[in-house]
Amino acid sequence: MQLSHTNSGNELNNNNIEKQLRFGCFSVLKSNPYILLMMLIIVSICMYGINGIYGFSVFPDEFGYWAPAATIVGLDWSSVTSLGSYYSYGYSIILLPILALFKDSIIAYRVAIIFNLLLQCLSLFLVHKILIKLFPHQSSKILSIAGGAAVLYPAWTFYTQTTMTEGLLNFLFILSVYLIVCFFEKPWALKGIFFVIVLIYMYFVHMRCLGMIGAGALTLIIWAVSRSEKKVFSRVLLLIGLIVILFAISFIIKEVVTARIYSETSEETLSWNDYSGIAYRLSKLFNAQGITVFIKDFAGKALYLWAATYGLASWGIACLIKKAVSAFRSINDKNASFIEYSYIFLFLSVFAQFMVAMIYLIGASDPYNDRLDIFLHGRYIDFFLPILIAIGIVEMVDSKHLWLMQIFFVLAGIILMLIARKVILDNISGFVNAHSFTMIGMSYFLKKPLISSISFFFKELALSFSLMAVTVIIVVIYRKFKIETVLLLIIVIQVALGVYTVGYYVFPNQTYIYGDILLGQKLKEIRLENPEKEIVTIYEGGAQYIELVQFADREADITVINAENEPVNVYDYMSAERILIIDLNGDYVDAADNFYEQKWEIGHLNVYYTP
């Protein structure tokens, strides 16, 4: 027997929401003023900094995402692209019209950020709708607060201000959950097709979303097998077939992209982001040493998940496990509802993506690895944390064993902390190399240079424990006095962390980034005055600032000479027929100063030419 897909407790609420949507989203906003409030906060945080954003914050990743779009519009950035590894082309589909329509690089970049902002705002509605379906008994106001806390996750706020794929992936994950919930509720073929397209597109955007495809396919198969209806089976077969075809097409597209855009990139550099070595990485696990490494690596990722959300994601995972187990029991009893199948998908996708992060970053706890952010890695799991935060808040509010569970999560956090501490202390370099953008949720106290990673580590955990305590107090006050609006204080925490994150990690660097953009604009002037001259740059290592110059002067055909591993004879590349770009304080400055008549020193680079 199939359970009714709506529970009477909130059926009126669901019908009201649907009626309001048919008459425009302003009526939805009117009945959910908290969503409007949170949307205004999201817009304000973005607008706070957008006038001070000029270009890439992360190198070479962001350039890699723009490069395929540039190729499609007829630009040749292959030489500059060779400085970075392979980056997936999915995000370029979004960036393509922006690059085509907006010729000024600063405007184009800011438009891309505004697009991220729109996705973040749209996610507010989607998360709210998902929570309404998953928690039909719960008050709409509490669900909108939980959804707001999810979308205001500080790492998401950070990624919105950049053209990294994470902003898009956050939205796509929520969209995929929404589509699968809708599909299970009313299994129309079109909904299933959209769901599959979103999963495959996520893979196009970043290959680590392989886990999503697996989770989606497996959930559909479980649903089909449990329903035991021929019509259902045939629909699912169609969807699985579509997954296989689109997945195969992705490899063909990758080959074309690699050939067109990465033709000058070395095999070694291309392999940095190669996910095809997963079998090799998996093989490392199947021995005693491999299992020890796995446990240590797990501690780092799980600790990030715990600390970045100050325990809320732990509640979310506990809820998912509970609901997934219950769902399998219901499937066994042949009375599973659409909500239960949705929980299975959520559980499988979170598990699968966590495992992808684990497998791809295996060896992060190795004593010879100096990257702290590979160990406490958040970037690969940040995109599913918002939904876990939302579910976690609702679970905390409803939990029958609040204190027992909270004590359990605190103890789990302490155990993970002790394992992670041992890993840090055993590390040869002391883990003093930390890239903040891959562990945004645990970077509030990160100052460069990182002198003591242990001191930084304990400060981060102290903050997480404190915020966890504050959240528990907020929930206890709600449960005791039934004041729903007090849960809004969780939003205040998220806003404060988000504003701090963007203020510290995005905006200060942009002053220097602007210099490189100015150099690009100056290069364009020089190039137009001297059209016959070739443009050559010597890359000496470090951040690839030449990418900003290429982005600013998009039509420039820049030839890159890679001197990172082996110095070059600069006299081979200096000529009156060449415009030379080199590092501001690099090894070749003196020679260039003596050779060329004109020099512009802006940002991180010098440009030399003889008119």
């Binding site: 304000s44 607008m47 706070y48 004041i483 204080l489």
Partner: protein, 194 residues
């Protein structure tokens, strides 16, 4: 009453955002419109004696950068024996050392004006190259000023929204709870009467 409150809240918040957008845009645009008519006043000067630039016009303030003899700086103002300079995107202060009259010919003064007639031709050549450098400084400085003004407007908006959240969560929440308690009491007394 809840619907009316929702309407008023929505209107208030939308008006706040529109005002912030207007002021933020106006702040950015005003500078763009006027940029052809006004410029940042200041002059390029050369350090003739090693000194330091501090974060505030105070001997105890932290050192922003050490300046060596021969470095060029963009001086935007003077106040109480300190020059305000703009250096690599930041404002800083250099103390005017020397006699109380601040006579430009005194050897003890740490900064000399580039327009000094004693500057030799090699220095003039150097200043020509530095002129390119200065153009980007002025541009960066103007952009940073615009950005800071716009950011201030939006910081105020964010603060208003956060305060709204706190007010709503505490004040309105307690009021709603009291009205629920009163309702329960009314219901109980009605059922007692029956």
């Amino acid at each position: 009453m809840n619907n009316k409150f929702s309407e008023i809240s929505i209107i208030f918040l939308i008006v706040t955002i529109l005002c912030a957008s207007f002021f933020s845009f106006h702040v950015s645009l005003a500078k763009d419109v006027n940029s052809s008519q006004e410029s940042i006043s200041g002059s390029v000067m050369t350090i003739i004696q090693d000194t330091v630039a501090r974060s505030a016009p105070d001997e105890g303030a932290s050192v922003v950068v050490k300046l060596s003899k021969g470095d060029s700086i963009f001086v935007v103002g003077e106040n109480d024996g300190w020059y305000e300079i703009f250096y690599k995107g930041k404002s800083a202060y250099v103390k005017v050392t020397g006699t109380s009259t601040g006579n430009a010919n005194d050897e003890e003064i740490s900064i000399a004006a580039a327009a000094d007639s004693n500057v030799n031709s090699a220095l003039e050549e150097e200043f020509k190259k530095k002129q390119q450098f200065d153009v980007t400084y002025v541009d960066s400085f103007e952009r940073q000023q615009r950005r800071n003004r716009s950011a201030l407007v939006w910081k105020i908006v964010i603060a208003v929204l956060v305060v709204s959240i706190i007010v709503i969560s505490v004040v309105i929440g307690i009021r709603n709870r009291n009205s629920i308690v009163n309702e329960d009491e009314d219901n109980n007394s009605e059922s007692d009467k029956r």
